[in-house]
């Protein structure tokens, strides 16, 4: 999981990001500017509707900004020639509702993103086993999601997000559907991944308590950044 340096040193760089919906009647992002360095653990916080999930979608090339620039290692994300390859190889997604495929076992779910990776088919299973072991689920390999607890499902989802050894993990309210005990365990796991693998981690949450586990917090309100844990970047 080597993280390359870019001329600016940032892995993500956003400047004046705007996002409008419904022919401009709804403005989700208003001039958002920030930088994220490789290996940072950043929490994006704010109340529902503040634009944090929209921002996460843009970082993951799931949506495009209406205006402004958004770079990944110096390259414009909206102009990527192959957004699928970017999502498959550079980004690991963790969703609030886990989004595991219900008819596939934990082991199979972890292999799903590997279809777009470069790993030969016979080796996919071994990597999936190894990833599930790393999240403490070696005893649940062949269980369907319905047979797993909420915490276990999220751990499977985390293992899945690591399937293609991405540089960045993007997590959308990863503890939103978990009880406090499992939320703590999940945050601990994400923190460990960040520390041990020097992985860039961007976590979206409305819970300021959870955001405290991050090294840096970007707080948003009405589509704007109102505070940023990194003093060098000024909220617009």
């Amino acid at each position: 999981m080597a993280v390359k340096a870019t001329p600016s040193g940032s892995i993500f760089e956003a400047a004046g990001l705007e996002k409008k919906f419904d022919d401009g009647q709804v403005q989700a992002l208003r001039g958002v500017t920030f930088r994220i360095q490789p290996g940072e653990f950043v929490a994006i916080t704010g109340q529902s509707g503040c634009g944090k999930t929209t921002l996460l979608q843009m970082l993951g090339a799931l949506d495009s900004p209406t205006a402004g620039t958004l770079l990944y290692r110096g390259k414009s994300i909206p102009d990527l020639p192959d957004p699928s390859a970017y999502r498959a190889r550079e980004i690991g997604f963790i969703f609030q509702a886990f989004h595991l495929l219900p008819t596939f076992t934990a082991l199979e779910n972890v292999q799903i993103p590997m279809f777009e990776g470069d790993l030969p088919i016979p080796e996919r299973k071994n990597r999936a086993i190894s990833l599930l072991k790393s999240v403490g689920l070696e005893h649940r390999l062949h269980h369907l999601p319905a047979k797993l607890s909420g915490g276990e499902r999220q751990r499977v989802a985390i293992a899945r997000s690591l399937a293609n050894r991405p540089s960045v993990l993007l997590a959308d309210e990863p503890t939103g559907n978990l009880d406090s005990e499992n939320a703590g365990l999940t945050l601990e796991l994400l923190g460990r991944l960040h520390r041990e693998q020097n992985m860039t981690l961007v976590l979206v949450t409305h819970d300021t308590g959870i955001a405290r586990s991050a090294v840096r917090t970007i707080h948003m309100k009405d589509g704007r950044i109102v505070s940023d844990g990194e003093p060098a970047v000024t909220a617009s």
Partner: protein
């Protein structure tokens, strides 16, 4: 785990819906197998009958009916004098109700003509002469009519005697009531009339020579049309209508199958919108999503096709044994028809999956984060 694993899981997650869709496709394909098999079988049976009689050219006027129209028997003499004709045999054939059989082929042949030569007596004997009020029955016909040698048989208004049971080496021959031409002409009031002339070309006759002979006969005999024996039935207008109706009905059934698969696949895409968006968010290319949907619908088509072929083959077998058509048809459920039917089913699957696949490819991956 491969894409195929995902495709199969996609189908088995909704077993009832998948099964009902398979039933829909299989009925369509069974209709193709049954109807086309029967119409082809009719043609093949007729062709085999001609081969068994050693006929190279058939002169008749099929028109739009299933049996040819009668014409004057003297035509036969004109053909017999052509240089490449080795032998002729005038015949009067009709499809008619015979006792318990609703429809049976009655074939009256010139006594002593070569069209008697292929008949091998299994029981009894051949008629003694052209005027004997007797018939021989093909083995299947005897079985259908439950007749044995010595039994009386009612043909139209006349009562004749079954004097022999024969093996004609072909389905149509074995399913026929065979008798001498003048006897049948008298029974049906067609004195001096025939409706088929079997012509044997001077051997060895190549297909080009047979074609040339047909052209010669056509010039000589405006009352009928000469065709190589193998093409005779296939060129009849009635057979073409039957064949067109078979394909038309089959394709209608297949169209219902197409709509069934399309509905299933659209439902699948709608139900799995979130899942497809998640796959897109995880980096799956749209092309892979399209392939996944198309493979699913193609697999539905394949399974429905195999089930339909089995259903059709069994159905045709049962149909062939029903009293109304037993002995009349020898369905031709050939491997090529079965393979074509399965190919049609797979094609149905792929075509039905195109629109759902296109719909799935238009989904926005950002929906993965909504809900």
């Amino acid at each position: 785990m491969t894409l195929f694993t995902i495709v199969v899981r996609g189908l088995i997650r909704r077993p009832v819906r998948t099964s009902l869709t398979l039933v829909g496709i299989s009925i369509g394909i069974a209709a193709v197998v049954a109807l086309v098999g029967i119409s082809r079988g009719f043609s093949k049976s007729w062709e085999n009958g001609m081969k068994a009689r050693g006929t190279d050219v058939v002169v008749s006027n099929m028109g739009s009916s299933l049996t040819p129209k009668p014409f004057d028997a003297s035509v036969c003499d004109r053909i017999a004098h052509l240089p490449n004709v080795a032998a002729t045999c005038p015949i009067l054939v009709d499809l008619m109700s015979v006792e318990t059989a609703q429809m049976m082929m009655v074939s009256a042949r010139e006594w002593g003509g070569f069209s008697w030569d292929n008949l091998k007596v299994i029981a009894g004997r051949m008629p003694h002469d052209a005027r004997e009020q007797a018939v021989v029955l093909g083995s299947t016909a005897a079985e259908m009519l439950k007749k044995k040698v010595g039994d009386p048989i009612q043909i139209d208004t006349a009562e004749l005697t079954v004097v022999g049971i024969v093996d004609g080496h072909a389905w149509v021959e074995n399913s026929a009531v065979i008798l001498s031409l003048p006897v049948f002409q008298e029974i049906t009031g067609n004195q001096g009339k025939i409706n088929i002339i079997d012509v044997r070309a001077t051997p060895p006759a190549s297909s080009q020579e047979v074609e040339a002979l047909c052209q010669q006969i056509d010039k000589l005999v405006p009352e009928g049309r000469a065709m190589p024996a193998a093409e005779h039935i296939g060129n009849s207008q009635a057979y073409r209508v039957v064949q067109a109706m078979s394909w038309g009905t089959s394709l209608l059934a297949v169209l219902v199958g197409v709509l069934g698969v399309m509905n299933t696949m659209l439902m699948t895409v709608f139900e799995r919108t979130q899942e497809i968006c998640v796959l897109l968010a995880l980096g799956w290319r749209r092309g892979r999503i399209v392939r996944m949907v198309l493979w699913e619908s193609a697999l539905l088509g394949l399974l429905g096709g195999v089930a339909g072929v089995l259903l059709g083959a069994v159905g045709v077998k049962i149909l062939g044994e029903t009293p109304a058509i037993r002995g009349l048809l020898e369905p031709d459920v050939s491997p090529s028809l079965l393979a074509t039917s399965v190919a049609i089913a797979v094609g149905v699957g792929v075509i039905s999956g195109l629109y759902p696949a296109w719909r799935s490819s238009r989904l926005a991956p950002s929906r993965a984060l909504q809900g």
